[in-house]
Symmetry: none
Amino acid sequence: MKTLQQGADEATAAARDARTKSRRKQLLAAAARLMEERGSQEVSMQSVADAAGVSVGLIYRYFGNKQDLVQAVIVGVLEEFSNRVGAAVTEVEDPVRQIAAAFKGYCEVIDENRDGTILAYRDTKTLDAAGRSAVKELELTTGKLLSKAVLDAADAGLIRPVDYRIFAFQLLMTAHSWALKHWYFSRHFSHEDFIAHHTALALSGVLRPETRSQYSDLLGDLA
Amino acid sequence: MKTLQQGADEATAAARDARTKSRRKQLLAAAARLMEERGSQEVSMQSVADAAGVSVGLIYRYFGNKQDLVQAVIVGVLEEFSNRVGAAVTEVEDPVRQIAAAFKGYCEVIDENRDGTILAYRDTKTLDAAGRSAVKELELTTGKLLSKAVLDAADAGLIRPVDYRIFAFQLLMTAHSWALKHWYFSRHFSHEDFIAHHTALALSGVLRPETRSQYSDLLGDLA
Amino acid sequence: MKTLQQGADEATAAARDARTKSRRKQLLAAAARLMEERGSQEVSMQSVADAAGVSVGLIYRYFGNKQDLVQAVIVGVLEEFSNRVGAAVTEVEDPVRQIAAAFKGYCEVIDENRDGTILAYRDTKTLDAAGRSAVKELELTTGKLLSKAVLDAADAGLIRPVDYRIFAFQLLMTAHSWALKHWYFSRHFSHEDFIAHHTALALSGVLRPETRSQYSDLLGDLA
Amino acid sequence: MKTLQQGADEATAAARDARTKSRRKQLLAAAARLMEERGSQEVSMQSVADAAGVSVGLIYRYFGNKQDLVQAVIVGVLEEFSNRVGAAVTEVEDPVRQIAAAFKGYCEVIDENRDGTILAYRDTKTLDAAGRSAVKELELTTGKLLSKAVLDAADAGLIRPVDYRIFAFQLLMTAHSWALKHWYFSRHFSHEDFIAHHTALALSGVLRPETRSQYSDLLGDLA
DNA sequence: CATGAATGAGTGTTCATTCAT
DNA sequence: GATGAATGAACACTCATTCAT
């Protein structure tokens, strides 16, 4: 049985924990906003503090040093990517349509956080070995969501015998390219068109002739 | 008619010009080496001077400031890319094989300068508007070499009606991905395999059914 | 006559007082350990709190600021010195042997707290005027224990007419030097040898020729 | 034979070298003044720069970091000590009078740089292992000047068989004590008296009975 | 043309101290 | 009494840039 004091201690400990978590989030959000805008190197700890409305010293209670903060921002971005793609995949049954859904989902997350994507590309190099590993791990996790769908489609005999890693990572890179080459693509295509074109192009490369007709809605002009 | 003095002046002017150019190259080479290795932010002007065996002050005679130097390095990298890809394209006749040749050429240049590729991705953002424009322009130039081949193939009725910009930029990005995701691809594929797989995948997506057989050597397992 | 309440108040007041004192001791002990190890400048208030198992804020209830804490640590060290030397002196009768006993006692206390000795030397300067005075006062107190023995020996006609302050402080400094120059002395002498040599040297300088033979046990080779 | 250019190069190189040396001295002097006054920890690099009339950055061209600067200051102090004591010793013949001269010389240097002495005591601990070694080495060097005289005196049969290291280091510590306990000694003694008293006390401890009369001028009241 | 000493604003980081709980 | 989150001034150190020589 708990004494009153223990109950109170637990309550305050829980409250403190909650505050700690929200502080972290607040700092992370401020840092993410600035770093996505300018790149981590151009963001000083002081500017993060200012943006978050706290003092510099406080950041160091939540993140050991700047590199830790940068890593947390990047990991945060990638985690959200992974979560949302996971959700997108599970909403469909047909493996080929799963591929399309995952790709679409990924493209959409990327679009909503283009700056985060670019940040991950630019600043992963500044992390230490552990940080880089963590980032790669997350990317692999996301990649596996796609690989799974590709393997399922292959097992079902719906697609040609393509190397699933080549194909899956190609899709990932394509999604990234919307952020990385936005200056070019956005000049010529809406994001929907970009997704449609690339979905068609990718599937057109792997679908078996006899199954193409089932997916003519995805193939567009390439049907 | 030229006086002797004028002749002498011209001669020295020319000599000076030559010396200026070689100094620039020397500085650029030193800067490129260091920046590709560590990223431009991690390279100090002093370290460039040391690597080039000159004084810091001298760099400022050839490049207005650090950003100028970074820009010159990146532009240098991209120019070499462009030149070498141009050479690769013109060596074949068949438009489809031109596409394959250009892609292969690009991949090879990228492979030989993976660090330069990454540098261009990481540090273009630090340039001013003019610098970024210059870089984009160069990338477009390279892209056009591919686009041209794609359009020719389409005109010849060899491929399906794919958007040539989507397809061409896709090939560029794929080549880049060898550098950008080298940690992943090199784990599973030799560079030759990487090229072969991606060539097959890309062409498989656009070749018309009736022409596929002509290019079965390029399509590999996807033939 | 005391009311029950008053009695209770006194009891709790006494209890509080006791708790206060033990808290002070606990903090002081933690601080002393750390500061003797690393020097006061290298010890943060947070690290003292951690070592004592309390919060930072609590330290400020017992010591106004860091300087107060440092001062209390140093004073504590010196007080212990004084107490222990006092005990050593009173255990002998013969004034000359008192000198030797006091010196030996002091050397032993120093040896047992070499770090404390060094701390007092290093960090007294960081104290304010009041702190420095307090420290000097304590040192004088200790010095007087020796001076007294010296004066007694002089009164008894056992030693030459040496300036007692010069002689007494010399002994103090010699004892300190075991801590201050430990890197040197410990390389060549055990602590017992150190004491023996210095006792002999010091007494040899002041003993009258006619009394030397009584103390040949203390004079060693110098007898 | 030297070309004109080579001659010019050498001239400028020499001039630069001279300027470099004087800059170092200037910075060292400024740093020494401040650090002797307040202790190295209380002196910021900025304050050294200000005192020397230069910018902070410049200090780092001459001293790798703050610790290097502190070490250079302490070493500078000790080197001067050593030099000046060396000069004092060589001016006399009689070994016993050499001891007295060296001690007197040392006391005088200490008196002229009491703050430097204290600095060496306080801040040697903040140096790294290499720095501490360098400092100890210098102290040993100075110690040897005294040891030599002591050994000579022993060889000449002028003094009792005292351990020369104990005796020599005792003299060093005594000289130091003028700086370390200046608050006490200066209250009671002029520096001359301090030297006279301690010379007498030290020699009285080691002189053989039959030689005392030769040095009655040094023994004072203890004669 | 070439040097490199000199500048000084700016960075990441620490830590004594306060105060709401 | 006791906590520890929060503050912010201070620090050591870096580096792009300038300019007298």
